[in-house]
Symmetry: D2
Subunit: 419 residues, 4 copies
Amino acid sequence: MNIFNNIESEVRRYCRAFPTIFTKAEGYKVIDQNGKRYIDFFSGSGSLNYGHNNPAMKQKLLEYISENGIVQGLDMATDAKRNFLKQFYDIILKKRNMDYKLQFPGPTGTNAVEAALKLVRKVTGRNNIACFTNSFHGMTLGALSVSFNASKKVTDKDAMTKFSVTMPFDGFFGEEYNSLNYIENYLKISRAKSDLPAAFILETIQCEGGINIATTGWLRELEKILKAYEVLLIIDDIQAGCGRTGTFFSFETSEIKPDIICLSKSLSGYGLPLALVLIKPELDVWQPGEHSGTFRGNNLAFVTATEALNYWKNNEFSDTIRIKSNIIPQRLSDLVKKYPEIHGKVRGRGFLWGFESNLKNFSVQVARDAFQAGLLIETAGPKNQVLKLMPPLITDEKGLNAGLDILQECLMRNYRKEL
Amino acid sequence: MNIFNNIESEVRRYCRAFPTIFTKAEGYKVIDQNGKRYIDFFSGSGSLNYGHNNPAMKQKLLEYISENGIVQGLDMATDAKRNFLKQFYDIILKKRNMDYKLQFPGPTGTNAVEAALKLVRKVTGRNNIACFTNSFHGMTLGALSVSFNASKKVTDKDAMTKFSVTMPFDGFFGEEYNSLNYIENYLKISRAKSDLPAAFILETIQCEGGINIATTGWLRELEKILKAYEVLLIIDDIQAGCGRTGTFFSFETSEIKPDIICLSKSLSGYGLPLALVLIKPELDVWQPGEHSGTFRGNNLAFVTATEALNYWKNNEFSDTIRIKSNIIPQRLSDLVKKYPEIHGKVRGRGFLWGFESNLKNFSVQVARDAFQAGLLIETAGPKNQVLKLMPPLITDEKGLNAGLDILQECLMRNYRKEL
Amino acid sequence: MNIFNNIESEVRRYCRAFPTIFTKAEGYKVIDQNGKRYIDFFSGSGSLNYGHNNPAMKQKLLEYISENGIVQGLDMATDAKRNFLKQFYDIILKKRNMDYKLQFPGPTGTNAVEAALKLVRKVTGRNNIACFTNSFHGMTLGALSVSFNASKKVTDKDAMTKFSVTMPFDGFFGEEYNSLNYIENYLKISRAKSDLPAAFILETIQCEGGINIATTGWLRELEKILKAYEVLLIIDDIQAGCGRTGTFFSFETSEIKPDIICLSKSLSGYGLPLALVLIKPELDVWQPGEHSGTFRGNNLAFVTATEALNYWKNNEFSDTIRIKSNIIPQRLSDLVKKYPEIHGKVRGRGFLWGFESNLKNFSVQVARDAFQAGLLIETAGPKNQVLKLMPPLITDEKGLNAGLDILQECLMRNYRKEL
Amino acid sequence: MNIFNNIESEVRRYCRAFPTIFTKAEGYKVIDQNGKRYIDFFSGSGSLNYGHNNPAMKQKLLEYISENGIVQGLDMATDAKRNFLKQFYDIILKKRNMDYKLQFPGPTGTNAVEAALKLVRKVTGRNNIACFTNSFHGMTLGALSVSFNASKKVTDKDAMTKFSVTMPFDGFFGEEYNSLNYIENYLKISRAKSDLPAAFILETIQCEGGINIATTGWLRELEKILKAYEVLLIIDDIQAGCGRTGTFFSFETSEIKPDIICLSKSLSGYGLPLALVLIKPELDVWQPGEHSGTFRGNNLAFVTATEALNYWKNNEFSDTIRIKSNIIPQRLSDLVKKYPEIHGKVRGRGFLWGFESNLKNFSVQVARDAFQAGLLIETAGPKNQVLKLMPPLITDEKGLNAGLDILQECLMRNYRKEL
């Protein structure tokens, strides 16, 4: 690891949590330079929903490269891009009766969020953006300004308070007050002051924030309120989208119709950088070139993304996810019961689950031990108190159980230390 | 083109300038679906300095993918990353006696700029950033805030005026005043007010701004002034770096030592998204994870980038560029003389040249005709009055002359229309 | 009026509402150049609580001027100031068991508010100030930034949204939601975000806002919440203080202990400019001269203010106000009943009452007619829908009835027009 | 002094510099409670140009009060105000061929500045205001934002940097560069960026800043530049106006025509709070009541101000000031020569002079001693290195010499200590 320590910036993070050098990967398994194998419950922070080096995508990628398919094309029209547009329209939009235009910003989630924020400000002529407690939307200045607690991470606190206002997420006040009352009252005040926000930006499931889930009823009611006040709704589906929760979009069961949707992470299917902003046609008021970016047309990513969408041609993949995923809450709930002193809480949907324990440093320690035992798993939440389970969607039962076995063992071991 | 018009956002730009569907590419040539071949003087806006589908890199890429090399790893340590770190240290840093730490932000130029701005603010505890007339640094909020005329492109003018101050680039006041006098006087005022900027961010050659070149003397003097006032210097070498001007960094001939250097575009060598922030070790005060990003470790890009650096093992590549590149100013100067009514101005270095004409819409029209005639070329400058010549560095004399022939013909044709 | 029209700025306002030239005044009566007498229910917008040219104060003023007492002394120690300090301490602070330091800012209410805002920011190191719906605190930039709807009045909207956040006043949401729930929830979010406001600034009765009254229970509960979150409380008692509500401070009955209190308007007793900031001793962290102002020691105002405070030596004055003031709500309520089509609402306390009617322009028209009939009365509220009754506290029953007679007649007349 | 120490805020300043209790005053003399007499070279920081308790004004004031003239009238038309308007038009505006509308803001200088800033922003639709190095314009947020080094005095640094930009005053760069070059270059950059400031705000002589004098040529050239760029010019003549420099306005000799002029301090002539904004008629775009303030019509101040203007009916007063004032620079220059080790610098005009010494704490110590010896004198400049001589304009030769004698003695005494 010497060269990493000597040359790479102190900002590096995951190479500290997972201190080895990885070389190869396949499906839900990752291999390091010593040949040790790890079960992956991390999925590149949600960017590998279809597993590592998915064979079908790999095949297409090798062909495209071999035949000198054009790789870098800014936003020029290419064959690869056309195929993706067609596939996305046919398989995702048309089937769901969704009417959206597609914008390709720079190929990362934070770029998609920046484009969305700029657009809602242009459309409405308003500056303020409402975001949520425990939100996370990215690391560039605009995305940071709508991320909770981001101010702790930057010298310039100003951007944090100036461009946005923080609303309570579903459940933030506990059972006592419904956060929607607060939101509606905020809008009442803002309207009286002629100072309504341009939009709300929302993750339906806050992943970095600790697997906080907005219920279907809350989402529907929120959409209704925002419509009444003529405030736009941006869904940041970067981490929870692309099938992670069992449906392609995380909000499908709620039947809401966001004005703008941000996608990235698993969009390319192969871990290649790609991002997408879906825009209701009437909001697509961009001037040509008004938001640009060198890598906004990553053709290799288009090739794999087109193949990835084949998973969604019918309901089979969704159904499989739903069935397999039942294992996770079952086994986690069993752990809660078995080790009551952990005061564990389990929440999630599809292949996105959190196991929370407020025992100090408990979750971080479990994750550390899990790495040693051959499982890659991350923590989330303001105090890293939540173990975040995100196996690739293609993980089979055997893989899930093998990972959960390791987790159970590490939980048990750390639970004993606590006693 | 129907699907692009129907589904893609109005924001699309280059598919309007180059209205065809591209399929394949090789070296300095691009091919569309009708089999028409184009000479590429655009190079993916500077991201294809080594040409399209460079054979050596292609080979490495195919091998890596075939062998299930790990693709997406956030900032985990991987074999591919280790190779790149070693190669970059040996070939770029050590040989030039440069001492820098490497940070991989999200894999686009604007992400690198955002990280740099955040870091200089953290290091200095100051908010204000000085940028330059006609600068362009990217499209996310922080990068926009240091881009000239960016305010014309966003509803929220505030970000533009609040976080930055604009300094005159070399030559901005014409011959009458040296812009450095202005800059030094600005620093005198700022210091008296205890309100010095954290840093200056500078492109040594402004590409989007119209091929404006900071002279060696100006750069050295600027560095001296900033040192005297303890203000940091960020060089944005995203478009002018990676060999574009004949040396790996654009500022090598000036011998300045920037505090921070931003690279992207041609860094991966193959048109794959990758970005890098070079940081003087004493400024590397990041906390682990303080600036993150899902695609900050693009392993496919590491593979090709490692191969690309082999071009710089000795001085041969540099020498070749210098010799070949003489053709460009020669032929452009001939055009200026031959068609004095165009009032052409020629400026540039290495494989980065501008041909300016203030005849209204002239340059845009020439570029449009060039596309029809089989040449991809872009315009730059606040009024798109500058034809920007950026052929891949691997273009041979024959290719350069073929492209310049087309350009000459289109210039002539449009010059006749003007008469 | 020609010279006023020709030379004075278009910004002039009350000379349009009361189109005559006034010459003399005494007690609750004002006389114009034609000898016409007006009953004053306006009291210089609350700056003449003791009536015009109060004889006792007049006497002291004439003596002081005649004897060449020092008039302008910045904040130098003077005899006149010493007397005022002593009197204010003895009669106001000591008797109420209040422990405060006295700061004399520039001699207007807005200057007092600016000083208070600067101080709470200095004390807490926080920037944000919470203000209330329909608040009004003054016309300088800082005071404007905490005034509701102020943004409608200035080009620079930014100051309005950046430095403050708006909280719902008592009753803002109607009966459905208690505004204190909203406030507490806002503080919960802010604390989680490490972004608590420095202070709340509050008028216990919003005068310009339309005679909106914070109930005793609401005030006490608010104080408790702010204490729990360690947020300071500034009471702006500029218009409602100095006896207007029957006690010297408007909040005496609630027994809250504000951290900072702003006074001005009737403080001098004679209509002379004077302002005062009361500061809990532990918050008095000013450096000498850190907030200054040429006229911060208006000695003529000290002379009359010292005399004015004699009204508060015992409870007699308070008692008289209470007894006399009963006439106002009684007669206004009778009007509501008599003319149900006006949908009148009556609210107020002491000598501060509002009569609201949502009939369009009704209140403005009544005030206009009242002027013709010999009564000076102003309107308030976001749509000027509230007739604001503020007779001098020294008005006797005869005077009150005479004014109310005129008001009744004008109400009746306009009510008939409506039918 | 006990009550001051115990009760008054720590913010008090001049009562520390002049530690006694003043009781009476007449002309250029002030008397304390022990009967000690002081020569006044301070003039209430420029608010007593006509001396203390000027007999003619005193007479008018006593009459007005005795006859129950209306005192507080907001901006209602009154007899006293009409007289002032007429007098100001006849004696000041008409005679100088000046065409301005009069706005009465709250009765302090900072209120006048706030009104001026708001108006230029409304007129131009631009936000940014250019102010000058070492400027001082007042203590409310807007005025602070255009005051140099104000940021040192407030927690909220943001207001300081956000709303304004600092330009170099005449001579700021020494002899090497003309500050006007910098200013014009700044405007060139701003125009290219479509970000011109709304206005420049300027004191022709910076009093608090250390008696820095803008030369006539510089003022004319500045006016020409601003016209060319369509940027407005506000002259803050609050301290240097009302005759202080020998003419009523400080800029009369330069013949510039400011767009807006702010007056206060000596406007009332008697030390009573009053302020005035003069506005070119075409810029008077205020809506009625758009900028208000309770004490904006201080009728007692109108009475004395009207009388004060009689001094300017012909040139006699101006001539007398000019002749008498010669004594000051003569005697100060003698001191410079006599005590070369002080490295004294003398500058000023009319009755406004500075004596600068960079010996550490020297000027502050001299002022302290002068107080003991019976002379009130203040220091100015960023390090309080300048003794500021501002005797009332009515001081006779005897008075001037008496004061200068004390100053000379204290200089000598401190100079000896230094040796």
